[in-house]
């Protein structure tokens, strides 16, 4: 382990959250929980990204009082990237949820393995 683990605690938390979301995605049987895990994973990445821009003692990048020096504001790039990312994540979760609704309407269950078993049975008969 390197020296910066405790200085970078925000990023460490993001890494742990990423792992938890990933585990949810693999382990949960319920589709809704899988989607929540996906969302957790995404927001962990955004937290990871946003930590990059933060600089202690500087303020948000909105020009106030005509001050335009680098010393006054944090790095605006990560904020912009995360903004883009949030849009992506909300569209993806809407799509996943609508897929869930369609699957439930047809098979009345949320377990993906059960659904595939049912499909196989359906085709045999």
């Amino acid at each position: 382990m390197g020296a910066n683990l405790f200085v970078n605690y925000g990023e460490a938390v993001a890494a742990v959250l990423f792992g938890i979301g990933f585990g949810n995605l693999l382990l949960q049987k319920n589709l809704i929980k899988k989607i929540i895990g996906l969302n957790i994973m995404d927001s962990a990445v955004y937290l990871f990204l946003a930590e990059k821009g933060y600089i202690i003692g500087r303020t948000a990048p909105i020009v106030t009082g005509g001050v335009q020096s680098v010393e006054a504001y944090i790095n605006p790039i990560p904020s912009g990237l995360v903004l883009t990312g949030i849009v992506v994540s909300v569209s993806v979760s809407a799509l996943m949820l609508s897929l869930t609704i369609r699957l439930y309407r047809r098979y009345h269950t949320l377990d993906l393995d059960q659904i595939s078993l049912m499909i196989k049975k359906e085709e045999e008969t």
Binding site: L25, D42, F48, K52, M96, L99
Partner: protein, 497 residues
């Protein structure tokens, strides 16, 4: 700057905009818009390719008023233009070949939505090809993923819905890893533009301060893209998605979508990390091993399969394995073989899918091999198309697959350490390929005395026949006159470095 330098930008924007336009048009008009846009972009890419071969230099194009490290950029070289042209051709032919099936399998009121998806998919592919910025690549990867999911589930039966869910879960894991890799890369280098990142990466390697996170960042990006392009252990969604979606979707997905990610991966290897540095990390060996496994296990699964379309889908797994083996060899020749195989596989696999649907249609819509007996006589053009595609996949001379296998063998010989496993796997995989494809070809040309199904005349489905003939021509052209293509790829890879 010549006016022709605007063409990459025009092609991305036109396809994006046509997606928006299709949302207010009825299905028929959307169909014409789609065809027109693909042809237009293909023509522009061809002109650009001709121009670039003339000048022999790549160029960057500023997206906005701000120069390199501040604004977005796209970049065009010979390889980019050639890939764009090729993708346009394959997409157009796939759309033509699957049009009749599309009319049957998709609700009429949702046709224009299908064309929106295809247009946006094309624009995202073009953006992935031309981009010079990692974050832009991420955004368009997402568009590509969602549009591909739409293509899978446009035919709404249980199998495709399930496959769409599995596909989304897999790809989103991949995108998450890609994004976190991009974040780390940004953190270490402070740039998002590929050329600037490469300078910083070289500096980091020389200084030796951040080598561990750098390797991790590269690994995350590569694994993310490998997951998205269905490398061997991550292919669970693939057979159902390719096997049950409507046929144009299957052709486009297998030949273009996964290839878009691989193209981005190659671009990252050359333009972001640098070939030398990438070669020195051990990620390359991981890719190599998984590629070998994919070659063999994909073919084995295909042999076991009793369903023609799922068999072709499993064959895709094996072929993607070939491409990764080429990358994993870590030589310039291996990379060349991989890029050539992207083309060869795209042409061959799309042809196989399109031909397979013609065969199943004259066999009572059954995909089981037993019912396909004699299908080659009932739908002649589809039978010929399937045979050509199979021969190309097996690697018979004259067809595209032969050249790529030759290039792979050449590349393997150049690399002493990895020569033996590559050649062995290549041999085994070719034999397995031959077994399952030739089995099918023999089956469709075995006469059937009782003749329970009616045959179809070629003149009845003109568009379908045209698309198959053009696909066959494309395959033979790639195989016969491979030298110009190889030269162009070589020049393009030189421009990357």
């Amino acid at each position: 700057m010549d006016f022709i330098c605007n063409f990459p930008f025009f092609s991305i924007l036109i396809s994006l905009f046509s997606g928006t336009i299709c949302s207010v048009l009825p299905g028929k008009a959307a169909k014409w818009v789609n065809t027109f846009v693909i042809v237009l972009i293909g023509a522009m890419s061809a002109a650009l390719l001709w121009y670039l071969l003339g000048t022999g230099e790549s160029f960057v194009y500023m997206m906005g008023h701000f120069p390199a490290p501040w604004g977005n950029e796209i970049r065009a070289g010979v390889l980019e233009a050639a890939t764009a042209l090729f993708f346009c051709i394959v997409m157009l032919l796939s759309m033509w070949g699957g049009r009749k099936k599309l009319m049957e399998e998709v609700e009429p009121s949702k046709h224009n939505l299908y064309y929106i998806l295809v247009n946006l998919l094309l624009s995202s592919l073009l953006a992935l090809i031309y981009t010079n910025d990692l974050f832009t690549a991420y955004v368009f990867v997402e568009i590509n993923t969602i549009a591909a999911c739409g293509l899978i589930m446009i035919r709404q039966i249980g199998r495709t819905l399930e496959a769409a869910v599995r596909y989304m879960i897999m790809s989103l894991v991949g995108s998450g890893m890609l994004l976190i890799g991009i974040c780390m890369m940004y953190d270490l280098t402070g740039h998002l533009l590929m050329s600037n990142i490469q300078e910083s990466v070289t500096a980091i390697i020389e200084e030796g301060t951040y080598v561990i996170p750098l390797v991790m960042a590269i690994a995350l990006m590569v694994i993310g893209l490998a997951i998205k392009s269905a490398l061997f252990p991550f292919h669970a969604w693939l057979p159902d998605a390719y096997g049950y979606s409507t046929i144009s979707s299957a052709a486009i997905l297998s030949s273009l979508v996964s290839k878009g990610y691989i193209f981005l991966l190659i671009k990252i290897i050359y333009r972001v990390v640098g070939f030398r540095i990438f070669h020195d990390t051990h990620i390359i060996n991981v890719l190599f091993v998984f590629g070998l496994m994919a070659m063999i296990f994909g073919s084995l699964s295909a042999i076991k399969e009793n369903d023609i379309r799922r068999m072709i889908a499993f064959s895709s797994v094996a072929q993607i394995g070939y491409i990764y083996v080429g990358i994993g060899l870590g030589t310039q020749v291996g990379m060349l073989a991989s890029v050539y195989h992207i083309f060869a596989h795209a042409a061959g696999k799309a042809l196989l899918f399109i031909a397979a649907i013609g065969l199943t249609d004259v066999s009572g819509f059954s995909r089981k091999f037993i019912d396909l007996t004699g299908a080659g006589y009932r739908n002649k053009i589809a039978g010929i198309g399937f045979t050509v595609g199979s021969l190309s996949m097996v690697g018979v001379p004259v067809f595209a697959g032969f050249v790529s296998k030759l290039l792979f063998a050449q590349a393997a010989v150049n690399n002493v350490g990895k020569m033996l496993p590559t050649l062995i796997a290549l041999g085994i995989s070719t034999i397995l390929n031959a077994i399952y494809f030739m089995k099918t070809v023999i089956r469709i040309y075995t006469p059937r005395p009782d003749a329970p199904y009616e045959s179809v005349a070629i003149g009845k489905e003109k568009l379908y026949a045209v698309s198959i003939v053009l696909f066959i021509a494309l395959n033979i052209m790639l195989g016969m006159s491979s030298q110009p293509v190889v030269d162009a790829i070589h020049a393009g890879l030189e421009m990357f470095g």
